[in-house]
Amino acid sequence: MLLPLAVAAPLVAAALLPLLGRRFGRDVALPAAAVLAAVAVGLGRRVPAVLDGATATWTRPWLPGTGVEAALRLDGLALLFALVVTVVGVLVMLYARWYFAADDPAAVRTVALLTLFAGAMLGVVLADDVILLFAAWELTSITSFFLIGGDGTKGASGARRALLVTALGGLALLGAAVLLAQAAGTTSLAGVLAAGPEVRAAGTATAAVALVVLAAATKSAQVPFQFWLPGAMVAPTPVSTYLHAATMVKAGVYLVLRLAPAFQGLAVWHGTLVLLGGTTAVLGAWVAVTRRDLKALMAYSTVSQLGLLVALVGLGTPLALGTAGLHVLAHALFKAALFMTVGVVDHATGTRDLDRLGGLGRALPGTAVAATLAAAGMAGVPPLLGFVTKEEALAAFLKGAGTYGAPAWTGDVGLALIVVASVGTVAYSLRFVLGTFAGPLRTPVHHRPGGGLEAPAVALAAASLVAGVLVGTLTPVLDLLGRDLGGGAPGVELKLWHGVTPLLLTTLGVLAAGLAVELGRGRLVGVLRAGRLPDGAAAFDATYDGTLRLGGRVRAISELHGLPAFLGPPLVVAVGLLLVGLVTVAPTGTPPDGQALDWVLVALLAIGVLGVTQSRSRIGAVAGLSLVGFLVAGWFVLHGAPDLALTQLLVEALTVALVVVVFRRLPDTFAAGARLRRGTAAAAAAALGLGLGGVTWLAVGRTGRSAVGDRYLARAEELTGGRNVVNTILVDFRALDTLGEIAVLAVAAAGIFALIRTPAERPLGPPRALPLDRGGDPRWRGSGGIEGPILRLMTELVAPVLLVVAGWLLWRGHQDVGGGFIGGLAAGAAAVLLYLSQGHERLWGSRWFRTLPLTGAGLGVALAHALSGPLTGGAFLPGGKLTVLGVTVARSLVFDVGVFVVVVGMVIGILRHLGQGLPEDEPAADRGGPDDRDPAGDAGVRA
């Protein structure tokens, strides 16, 4: 259970933290740190077993039809990454606690998202199924988008670039997952790795390599996608530290490390990665040399280090792969520390510009020590861990590809690129330390950081030092990774002093060259800046804007003026299809007989339809519409559909109430249409009506009951215990449809809420009382009520009865006419009565009558019913019976209760948001005139 808990705990915590945030603000970082620490301890206890070669797995079926499983697996590589994610996560959370101001609203949001991100990242490294890996990978991209974007004010373009680039990689990963699963015959990651020969022999091997490399290159900011990472630096420092230094950008490295065994021996795999990584390492390092903004310097430094890691994976020898794993650890330690110290400097002085910084060593001694140690590790200075891993990386390239499958040239080319990059690394590391902490003080410290802000970086730097001194203890890790990923132990003892070897001389040469570069920086930077590389971000933005412009042009071509112009073409197509149907359909079977009573209804219906269409007054049109609605209900009665008839009657009553409510804000008469329009509309109406009627006559209802209908009628009672077959279809047989339908209702309610309450440019104020004398009509009272003793008495008597009836209809629905929809509508009718007699304030003021909570609760109940099946080992949307307190009911009654509540919520939403009266200072609608209310008035946004 350790594995699912490790992934689930941060995800659950992320959901709960915002609730705590209201009370505790930035202090929620502490429980977040505690959760990650607990996961770290749990995983850490597995270290001895994993070093002995044990793995832990956990598997549950996820998509049984496709063989995709929710499978997790803990081996050496996964454990290494998981520990980096959790341990650095703990320190980042602590740092965040002191980084944010006490009243900073971004604090809770950032901490919760960081926790969510930690869960996603643990999912990436623990996933043992390529589809699950993809899902977790995408979750990290999305979380990262929100973390970079912040509240959307300044991070938007950086977040957009990061999202689109990493989403491109996500698609590539999905493609790669499909190809790998096809070749290996399983989506299990362990299965794919075990099927290495098949994967390499498949015709799609090169395509799979290309897709995996694309996914890794976008996520880990390799050339030419490196631009998104510096752009992401608008995020707060805790975010940059965690995502863009220590963890997320390592996901690409993790991917290529994880898949290295599957592709080992493919020249295209090794060659591409070495060139890609080496180029990125050189480019990142030398761009970093030219940066003045410390955060940009660190961002390009990260790009460079990721390039080194990718190149190591490309070389593919056990030593290279094992060293890559250890360098992930080393880089996480020193780069997280460096980002944190940059954040401290920024916090203390208000600037990150090297031209304005200097001499801070005395003012910020703790940070200076941490930064110096961490930068020394980055540059590869003994005795830090970074020195050992950098030296082993050089050693791996010096030894070359050997017999492990990479082309022979990769060793030398890789070595050359890495040496050039390392010289740059030394130079900018020196520049960072000297420029910030040495020399004369330029910008004084005006805001002293708290100890909590400085401590995490010190801890990380100290860990970097201790791990370097005791580096021998990491040899088993190197061996394990080499065996797991490269197919053999590297046969290297990790230690600080190997004697005077070519390797040591190379390291010393790199350090000396770096120092020389730093000393000659003035001239060099000019040269480097002159040879500017094409700007990836600009190219991205040009593509992005061009795509939007293209869309705009297409829209301009296709945009028609006015609704009828939009509806015209579909109507023409519909009429055309109907004509084809009329000509080609050969009627089969016998046409159903009508009944005499049918024709009475038809005659009345014709009058009703004429009334709706021809009336120029709104009240007349509503009267016609009601007539039509009641006649349709009668039609249902004649056709043996009492449930439908009852639903239709209730909907009709609500529609009339709704239309009347809205009409109060609209002029009383319709604008007259032009003669041409009326003629065209009438012609279209006649064509469609005749066509649809004709096709109905020729093709519909001639074959009797459907086979499915027969089966439901015969077996409904036996299978569901319900006698009302229509209701059993709604809540049992086709409950999934119903779930979708109540979701639509909830969306409609939310849409009404959003339309009326939230547009920022013109929010509608809270309701105010209408003047009693509205247009001389004393019946309009308050902001909604209609005065009248009879109505009031009726309401007091009828509304409670209606509610009881509604409950009764809900209860009996499975057996007899009724159900959630009908009951909900009846309860809604009670609310309408209440509204009409007591006014809008009655509904507005009550905490029970609120749109989003009601519809949300209803959906929640329905979903809980749906999920109760799988949780108790049954099907989604289960059937069967429940016995509560001795009363046995159909289990689907719970679902019907959800339906009931959603319908009530929708009706309440209509009344709340459409049913308010006119504000006092607004001219009455039927008098016309411009609407010049002050939009900045007391805007009330309430659900």
Binding site: A684, G689, G693, A716, R723
Partner: protein, 107 residues
């Protein structure tokens, strides 16, 4: 035959209204089109068997499947009408009229 006439009448009325100006009339039109769709669904069950479709109702029972489809369709069309009317309401608030064509150019 009667079912065909009902469907045709409702569809024609609905079509006429959705081609008018003003969101309110369009909303009324959609309501009529909704009626046309539900009556068409019911017609698909056959107009000869008109018994109430309860378990054990025998051969005269109507087809329950179209009824179930139609029931949810009715409720959803209420939601759609409400949403369209909210648009009309908002349109009047922002543009001073619910007439889509006269307000188009003001944006």
């Amino acid at each position: 035959m009667s079912a065909a006439v009902v469907v045709g009448l409702l569809a024609a009325g609905g079509t006429y209204l959705v081609l008018q100006r003003g969101v309110v009339r369009v909303a009324l039109g959609f309501t009529l089109l909704g009626h046309a769709a539900t009556t068409l669904l019911i017609a698909a069950g056959g107009a000869d068997a008109r018994g109430v479709p309860f378990a054990g109702a025998g051969p005269g029972a109507a087809d329950p499947l179209p009824q179930a489809f139609a029931l949810t369709a009715i409720v959803i069309s209420l939601g759609l009408t409400a949403f369209l009317l909210a648009l009309a309401f908002r349109s009047r608030d922002v543009h001073g009229s619910d007439d889509l064509e006269t307000t188009e150019g003001e944006r």
